[in-house]
């Protein structure tokens, strides 16, 4: 799949949706729903919840499409952030996070290998992020994964990794500081 073409397609469709074009919203949906549904499923862990979240995601996209600025972020970044936020808001509102099994530090090593995904932004960006994440300490990587993929809070991560809350906060903060510094290199 031609990356740039897809990015342009989604950007153009978002702009048209922002002007009230429903067909354009359907185009955005057709190009991106499978990825965003997967993001919601991963965080919510339950199909009907993920379906409701996905509906909210595209209602949000419809309302905010006019505010999307392609100069500030890629369309997939913008859409993934909306999907993660709607799913996380839903998770927080409805209570129990399903991802509460304990995380052993070693598990952080058994990362799924990143699958090349042309629909997402550049493979280079992915490779760079993955390289940085690989450079983190095991416990830092495991904590970030729990937050990003499972939607865990600081408190939940502390419980899953059996460390005090303050320790977890400092792990995450250090990991984020390192990530930012390395990504800017």
């Amino acid at each position: 799949m031609d990356l740039d073409r897809n990015r342009k397609l989604i950007t153009a469709a978002l702009a048209a949706a922002g002007r009230g074009d429903r067909d354009a919203l359907q185009t955005v949906y057709r190009l991106t729903a499978a990825k965003l549904f997967a993001v919601c499923m991963r965080i919510l862990g339950e199909r009907s919840e993920a379906e409701d979240a996905l509906q909210e995601v595209y209602m949000t996209v419809w309302r905010k499409a006019a505010a999307f600025d392609p100069a500030l972020s890629s369309p997939m970044t913008w859409l993934i952030a909306i999907a993660r936020n709607r799913a996380i808001d839903r998770l927080r509102a409805h209570g129990q996070n399903r991802h509460m099994e304990s995380i052993e530090e070693a598990v952080g090593l058994a990362d799924d290998k990143p699958t090349p995904d042309a629909a997402l932004q550049g493979a280079q960006e992915q490779a760079k992020l993955q390289h940085c994440i690989d450079g983190l300490a095991n416990h830092e990587r495991a904590a970030l994964r729990g937050a990003f993929f499972d939607g865990n809070t600081y408190e939940e991560l502390a419980e899953r990794m059996k460390v005090p809350l303050g320790t977890m906060k400092s792990w995450i903060r250090r990991a984020m500081i390192k990530l930012k510094a390395w990504l800017e290199q």
Binding site: Y29, A33, F37, R63, I80, Q126, L129, I172, R173, K178
Partner: protein, 231 residues
């Protein structure tokens, strides 16, 4: 790679933005960050930067095709256009002021309003809109479990009939009955569905073969929808 990190390398803003983007905040802390995003451009930009750093990670999540009814529900729930959604009262003023209400329709509107006011606590209304047009106006009498639907700008389809659906939030459309192009329809809500006809449920109209959908779910295009609100 060298460990450049220490807990003092981030400003408080940067930390809050990163925490929000990663999703580790809950409750009041998450709400506070969301409020700042809505109000402060600089803070919103910090959050967007962090979302940009983390988003490539989502490439690791294999795609899952959502079931087709999700898109149907989105279509049914979309207002006419962003920022153009108007309340019921404004819409009445709109239709009157532009002289677009036929004498018949105006009379029906009056009847509708009368009905609504006759049972104030139990009345819900919905403006069923599609393509920027108000197609039907509906009023639900909760006490007597009836829905009254008046055509406003419905253009008859030569081969299909309009069918009314009740869509409780987060659920599948429930069939209420077939409408007509030229007169107000009063439909009894089946007892099993009566409890679903409440505020924030959606009324939608789709085009179906004569006699109505053969499957119990919409088979044709949804031409309009509107949320039930208290009058």
């Amino acid at each position: 790679m060298t460990d450049m990190g220490n807990d003092h390398s981030f400003s408080a803003d940067e930390l809050q933005a990163a925490e929000y983007a990663l999703g580790v905040l809950a409750g009041a802390e998450r709400e506070a960050a969301a409020r700042r995003i809505a109000r402060e451009r600089a803070f919103a930009a910090l959050v967007a930067e962090w979302e940009g750093r983390l988003a490539p990670w989502a490439a690791d999540i294999p795609e899952i095709a959502p079931p087709p009814q999700v898109w149907e529900r989105i279509t049914a729930a979309l207002p006419s256009a962003p920022g153009q959604h108007v309340g019921f009262w404004q819409s009445l003023v709109f239709w009157r002021s532009f002289g677009m209400v036929s004498a018949l329709a105006a009379a029906c509107l009056a009847v509708l309003l009368y009905l609504s006011m006759g049972s104030q606590q139990a009345a819900l209304v919905a403006s069923i809109e599609g393509e920027g047009q108000r197609i039907f106006v509906a009023s639900v009498d909760v006490k007597h479990a009836t829905v009254t639907v008046m055509p406003v700008a419905y253009r008859p389809d030569p081969t299909r009939v309009p069918e009314l659906w009740l869509i409780p939030s987060g659920a599948k459309p429930l069939p209420l009955g077939v409408l007509t192009a030229d007169r107000t329809a009063q439909i009894a809500i089946p007892p099993a569905l009566a409890a679903q006809a409440r505020r924030d449920a959606i009324l939608a109209v789709s085009l179906e073969p004569p006699g109505g959908s053969p499957t119990g779910q919409p088979t044709g295009p949804v031409i309009g929808s509107g949320k039930l609100t208290n009058l």
